[in-house]
């Protein structure tokens, strides 16, 4: 059987159909059968597993994994190796549920104890770990069984394969795991720090896979905070190594992985972004990522074309991600990116690509670039990026929506020339529907965009916003558990209630509800910022001609203002004083009556006190208010 199946997928499938697997497993588990027989069984099963994914599925269905794990308890090394080889082959297949490794809690410690038995056990077990560590829970399980201490010595093993698998293990263990990363930096291998071992593995004469994986390890350790971003092993070794991985000479897979890792590495650090932006022409090197499948490959050979097509999406999304990361903080880099050949066109077409990954990455890139005032004014407008963006917002998965809406926020900023056309395309309805989303991020973005839109907007737009949003939804947002949403909603209200005619108009139709809401917030348990924002809204209301009355007739509200004028926080005092100052402003109808009423309520004394305040702004504001009385 062994000789029949080697290298022959058809034979393997035939044997499986004929039901060889249960029989083999039976023989394997039979402790009475000889070791040679059991070993041969494991070898044949291993061979079968080397076939197609369907083979693996049927093997797993026959409960091969528990049987093989059971086999590991045997003391014979050759048999163990055969079992491990088979297990390895099964586990590295994407169709095998990795959870099977963790169901029996004794398996991992047993594997750890087998680790040092031979070169093969080292290789197979580390390979199994590297493939079966997919979630933080898995990381913790392996970590708790001292995987690090057991695997670290393998990094200097004489066998290339063992070193490679051990390295991969560390990369999956350290991924977004602070605990593991922090432990890793302190591990010594043969008297040398682990980071130095990784640096040595990144030398240019090492296999590319090894360089790349070592760079990944260091990247994860760096992102987890175990290594500083200004450490030489990051700045001078990891970063250049990852940039090299993006070069044309590397395989497409390596380029994708290199770019993604690099994007992840420098995401939070502007200095790394600056260095990367001028290392080895990275920005223009990335432009090559969009040239697949190339026109040449289409003609010369089909195989290549197929290969290119398969990776084209991956390449594009990786490039977008890296661009997004590069341009997230520095204006000069953003300029450099937008000046790259056809960059904006590529983003625009990326936004409407079929692959969600590419779309998401393209939006991320666009979002990163939209932080630049200059780009918003120029290239964004020239390329009408709002069109595909709007289309993208119509129906997309949440993660894309978050990015897209957040980009839209930037596009709706007052100075953006795209604001007008976007308004015309019915964005308000869309944003209002976003505010009803379950995801807090989407709600924030929706209301944020509305806020930006309402800033210094026409009456028409404001009315439209209020109409589309509806007061009910507005109040729901005001009681939103997310402070960010609340802040932005208040910001929206404040922007809506600016310039006198607008204030009066809106207050005449929704005055009652708004006053209610303001009262609610001022009474509620909120942060200083929220209350400040609310007082600012009150001040805006107080600036209206007719809207003033809503406050003046509400004694409760006046008491609240009084209270905040005496509050310990200067910002709140300032906002409250501002409100009063608006109420008693001369040159307006009925200012005298209001002044009298407020005087009776004791506001003058407070203002008088505030003129002595230590904060110069508050002092000034109080003095101006006092002057209204004197005049």
């Amino acid at each position: 059987m062994k000789n029949a199946v080697i290298g022959n997928n058809k034979q393997k499938a035939n044997l499986i159909v004929l039901g060889a697997v249960p029989r083999l497993l039976y023989l394997l588990q039979q402790s009475s059968s000889s070791l040679e027989l059991r070993t041969e069984c494991a070898v044949v099963l291993g061979s079968l597993a080397m076939g197609t994914e369907n083979n693996i599925k049927s093997l797993v269905d026959c409960h091969i994994i528990p049987a093989l794990l059971q086999g590991l308890l045997c003391s014979d090394l050759i048999f163990i190796e055969a079992c491990l080889r088979c297990l390895r082959t099964v586990f590295i297949s994407p169709v095998t549920p990795v959870q099977l490794l963790y169901t029996d809690p004794t398996v991992i410690p047993h594997l750890m104890s087998l680790l040092s038995r031979s070169r093969h056990t080292k290789e197979y077990i580390t390979q199994i770990f590297a493939h079966c560590c997919k979630t933080p829970e898995h990381q913790t399980v392996l970590f708790n069984h001292s995987a690090i201490q057991n695997i670290a010595p393998l990094l200097i093993s004489p066998s290339d394969k063992v070193r490679m698998q051990a390295l991969k293990c560390f990369s999956v263990l350290a991924y977004e795991n602070t605990q593991v990363s922090m432990t890793l930096v302190n591990v010594l291998v043969d008297g040398e720090q682990l980071s130095q071992v990784f640096v040595r593995m990144m030398q240019r004469d090492k296999p590319i896979e090894m360089q790349l994986t070592a760079a990944k390890c260091l990247t994860y350790m760096c992102r987890a905070g175990a290594i500083r971003t200004d450490d030489n092993c990051i700045i001078l070794k990891t970063l250049p190594c990852l940039v090299r991985m993006c070069s044309k000479e590397r395989l497409l897979e390596e380029r994708v992985e290199g770019a993604e890792t690099l994007a992840y590495l420098m995401e939070p650090d502007v200095e790394l972004q600056r260095i990367a932006s001028f290392t080895d022409h990275l920005v223009s090197m990335l432009a090559d990522y969009f040239k697949y499948p190339s026109s040449v490959s289409a003609i010369t050979d089909i195989k290549r074309l197929d290969h290119d097509l398969k990776h084209a999406h991956e390449l594009r999304q990786a490039a977008f991600k890296l661009y997004a990361s590069l341009g997230s903080n520095d204006e000069d880099i953003r300029k450099k990116i937008t000046e790259t050949e056809n960059m904006m066109d590529r983003i625009v077409s990326g936004l409407s690509e079929s692959s969600i990954k590419v779309r998401l990455a393209a939006v991320r890139c666009l979002h990163s670039l939209s932080r630049s005032v200059q780009q918003l004014r120029t290239s964004f407008h020239d390329h009408a990026v709002w069109k595909p963006l709007m289309k993208l917002l119509q129906n997309a998965p949440d993660e894309v929506l978050v990015m897209a809406s957040s980009t839209l926020c930037n596009l709706l900023l007052e100075f953006s020339p795209s604001k007008e056309p976007i308004l015309d395309s019915g964005v308000i309805e869309l944003l209002c529907s976003l505010t009803q989303s379950d995801s807090p991020a989407l709600r924030v973005n929706g209301i944020w965009a509305l806020m930006n839109m309402a800033f210094q907007a026409d009456q028409k737009v404001k009315v439209e916003i209020v109409r589309a949003l509806g007061t009910e939804q507005l109040f729901r947002l005001l009681s939103d558990p997310d402070t960010n949403v609340l802040m932005k909603t208040l910001g929206l209200l404040r922007n809506l209630l600016s310039t006198r005619p607008h204030i009066d108009q809106i207050m005449s139709s929704h005055g009652k509800q708004i006053m209610q809401a303001v009262t609610l917030i001022l009474e509620g348990e909120h942060s200083i910022e929220v209350k400040e924002q609310t007082l600012c809204i009150l001040a805006n209301i107080a600036d209206g001609n007719t809207a003033k009355e809503l406050i003046m007739t509400n004694d409760d509200m006046l008491q609240k203002i009084k209270y905040y004028m005496g509050h310990s926080n200067v910002k709140l005092q300032l906002a409250a004083t501002f409100c009063i100052s608006n109420l008693i402003w001369n040159e307006e109808d009925g200012s005298q009556e209001r002044q009298d009423k407020l005087k009776d309520m004791g506001f003058v004394d407070i203002l008088h006190k505030l003129t002595q305040a230590s904060d110069p702004n508050l002092c000034d504001r109080a003095k101006t208010a006092m002057q209204q009385y004197l005049a």
Partner: protein, 684 residues
């Protein structure tokens, strides 16, 4: 396999290795000639300084004593000597513009104590830096033959525009023009062009000050390009400019290339001579390819344009900020992969047959007769030489390699009577070697005199007369200039000779290592045998006849406690006498066949051995290394083969030599790949 295959590496192969150390060896050579005088001068100077210092500092107590003794004038003079001289020194230093440099230049002319110490210290630091530089350059560019193509080590004080000033050993460049217009730009080139054999060349420039506008250009230019310009503006000139970060490729308008650079930045320039490209680095980060299709023989160049601009070059004096070794590693791997993947033709059998032929001829050449026979049998080849003849040669070679030169000469004369008569230069060479072996205590004549058990140090009677007289006699008849030098040395240093004669027994640990070099090809092919021949031959001389039965190990153990001529007095006398014979033979040869500088040098070096108390550890001690027997052995072997009308060198050695020659030719014609394809890497 036999441990003497090293010997067959042809002259070129050997040359290559020795040449890389040539600068060193020439220095040591000079040393042997001048060392006595220099040492004497140094010692006397040191004593003088000490004496002066003693007098100087004792003047104060002496002055006080004199004052007490009422000798006022002398007392005051003495007491005031120290403060007055200190005052003078301080005034002098204040007047000097930049103290240390000036002092360093005025050098030995200053007689003052501290100043001397400053100078000495400065020299030490300088030579330390020099040493580091040499070491780094050698490890970075091992393939460069500096005799032929020296590496740049500093800026050239001759090849620069007048607005450029140099300082700090010609490493610091500053601008000294007005810097008003681009017409005031000025450049300086390095002393030498970049040799192609570097493969990858790298230098760094640190911006000390960006001056007024920071118009600095760093790059490369060919010989003769106008120096009144910044690098990059003209044909065959390339530069990266700090003010705008643009790269200038033989053109007045730049291309956007990298970031700008300014005070404190370190800019590196790397020339890849394999694909003729160049990239820059900023603070250790590669900026990507700047230029392609570069011509050969470019000089490192910097240009400055506004006042106050100062830059420092690092041609290897200090560690580089950028990890250039890592970049080189990548290219070494690339080139070696290229060699490994080189197609060997379609008909593989042909390739194999050729290799087998080469191996067989190699084995025959070096008279490994049993191996050769077995090899020929298993690969169906014919041996072109009679077995007896091979064995004879083997016998002679064995004698030479074990240092028994006397017997070797005798045997040669027996077996090939006319050979040495006709070839007197060869005979002379053999005799000189015999002399060296006598000093070593390994030659047969000396061995039987001296015996194997060396006498202890104390029991050896020091008798200067015995040793000195023959040499003195020889000196009277000496006419060679070099030989007189050698004699002079002995006259100059009677103390040394004395020491040399009274302390004959030397305590110097460390065995002479028997070098075992194999060709991979040979090893690989031999692996096919399983009849034990290869196993037995692995010990070297067991193969073939064992009539002489020389026990090398025993020999080595005798050498481990090394004494002149094996420590026997009779042997020394014999050696001296032999030296005299050799001298007369040399004179005879000269009279007959005219001057021969090679012979002259050989004799001089051999005689120089006697000038040292520990010849094994002296600058000429390399001659005593058993590895030096190998060239002698191969020359003799080749001479014998030539009389039989057989090739002087085996094809395998020829091929190796040819490969080495090809590499040096590549270096000369400017293809940089030769840097990473050393033949030695393939000879394990």
């Amino acid at each position: 396999m036999e441990p003497r295959q090293e010997s067959v590496i042809p002259a070129s192969g050997r040359d290559y290795r020795s040449s890389s150390q040539d600068s060193m060896s020439s220095v040591t050579q000079r040393w042997t000639v001048w060392n006595c005088a220099a040492l004497l001068c140094q010692t006397s100077a040191r004593i003088l300084v000490w004496l002066l210092g003693l007098l100087y500092f004792s003047s104060l107590p002496l002055g006080i004593y004199l004052l007490i003794m009422q000798n006022t004038t002398m007392g005051v003079l003495m007491v005031s000597l120290v403060p007055v001289s200190l005052l003078i020194v301080m005034v002098w230093q204040a007047v000097g513009i930049d103290g240390r440099n000036q002092i360093a230049m005025s050098g030995p002319s200053s007689g003052c104590g501290f100043l001397m110490s400053v100078v000495v210290h400065g020299d030490l630091a300088l030579s330390e830096q020099e040493k580091e530089l040499n070491q780094r350059l050698r490890s970075l560019y091992p393939a460069v033959n500096e005799q032929e193509t020296p590496l740049p080590r500093s800026w050239s004080p001759k090849d620069k525009f007048s607005y450029i000033g140099l300082s700090q050993n010609n490493l610091r460049v500053h601008y000294k023009g007005h810097g008003k217009t681009p017409k005031d730009a000025a450049s300086v080139r390095a002393t030498h062009p970049i040799p192609a054999a570097c493969g990858v060349y790298y230098f760094e420039v640190k911006i000390i000050s960006k001056g007024r506008d920071g118009y600095m250009g760093i790059g490369l230019s060919a010989q003769g390009v106008n120096m009144n310009r910044l690098p990059g503006w003209d044909k065959h000139s390339y530069g990266y400019h700090g003010d705008d970060g643009h790269s200038f490729c033989s053109s007045g308008t730049g291309q956007p290339y990298g970031p700008t650079f300014t005070t404190g930045d370190v800019i590196g320039c790397c020339v890849n001579l394999i694909n003729n490209t160049c990239f820059y680095t900023k603070n250790g980060h590669s900026l990507g390819i700047a230029f392609t299709d570069l011509p050969s023989n470019l000089y490192p160049t910097v240009g400055l344009q506004t006042p106050g601009e100062v830059v420092d070059a690092n041609f290897g004096q200090h560690p580089f900020v950028f990890d250039i070794e890592d970049y080189m590693r990548e290219w070494r791997t690339k080139i070696q992969a290229q060699i490994d993947r080189f197609p060997i033709g379609e008909r593989e059998g042909e390739w194999q047959a050729m290799i087998q032929k080469m191996v067989a001829s190699y084995l025959v050449h070096h008279s490994y007769c049993a191996t050769a026979e077995a090899f020929a049998k298993s690969t169906d080849q014919a041996v072109h030489e009679e077995l007896a003849s091979i064995k004879n040669r083997q016998k002679i070679q064995k004698l030479v390699l074990s240092g028994r030169m006397g017997e070797a000469i005798e045997t040669t004369q027996q077996l090939y009577p006319s050979l040495l008569e006709r070839n007197s230069d060869l005979l002379f060479m053999l005799k000189v070697r015999q002399f060296i072996e006598m000093v070593n205590g390994t030659d047969s004549e000396v061995r039987c005199l001296g015996g194997r058990s060396p006498k202890s140090q104390d029991s050896y009677p020091g008798s200067p007369r015995l040793f000195n007289s023959p040499v003195h006699k020889a000196s009277s008849s000496q006419t060679y200039q070099t030989s007189t030098y050698y004699i002079h040395k002995i006259f100059f240093l009677p103390a040394w000779v004395k020491k040399h004669l009274t302390k004959m027994i030397l305590q110097k640990s460390g065995l002479l290592h028997q070098k075992k070099n194999f060709y991979t090809e040979v090893e690989m092919e031999v692996d096919h045998f399983s009849n034990g021949v290869s196993e037995s031959s692995s010990n070297g001389f067991l193969n073939g006849s064992s009539t002489h039965g020389i026990d090398l190990e025993e020999l080595d153990s005798a050498q481990s406690k090394r004494q002149l001529c094996g420590g026997s007095q009779a042997a020394i006398e014999r050696m001296i006498q032999f030296g005299r014979e050799l001298q007369s033979m040399s004179e005879h040869l000269r009279r007959e066949r005219g001057k021969n500088s090679a012979n002259k040098k050989m004799l001089k070096d051999a005689f120089s051995l006697l000038a040292y108390s520990d010849p094994w550890n002296s600058p000429v001690g390399y001659q005593l290394d058993s590895i030096q027997r190998e060239p002698v052995c191969s020359t003799l072997n080749s001479a014998i083969l030539e009389t039989h009308n057989l090739p002087k060198q085996p094809p395998l050695a020829l091929a190796v030599g040819q490969a080495a020659q090809c590499l040096s030719l590549m270096a000369r014609t400017g293809s940089g790949s030769c840097a990473f394809a050393s033949v030695d890497d393939y000879l394990h």
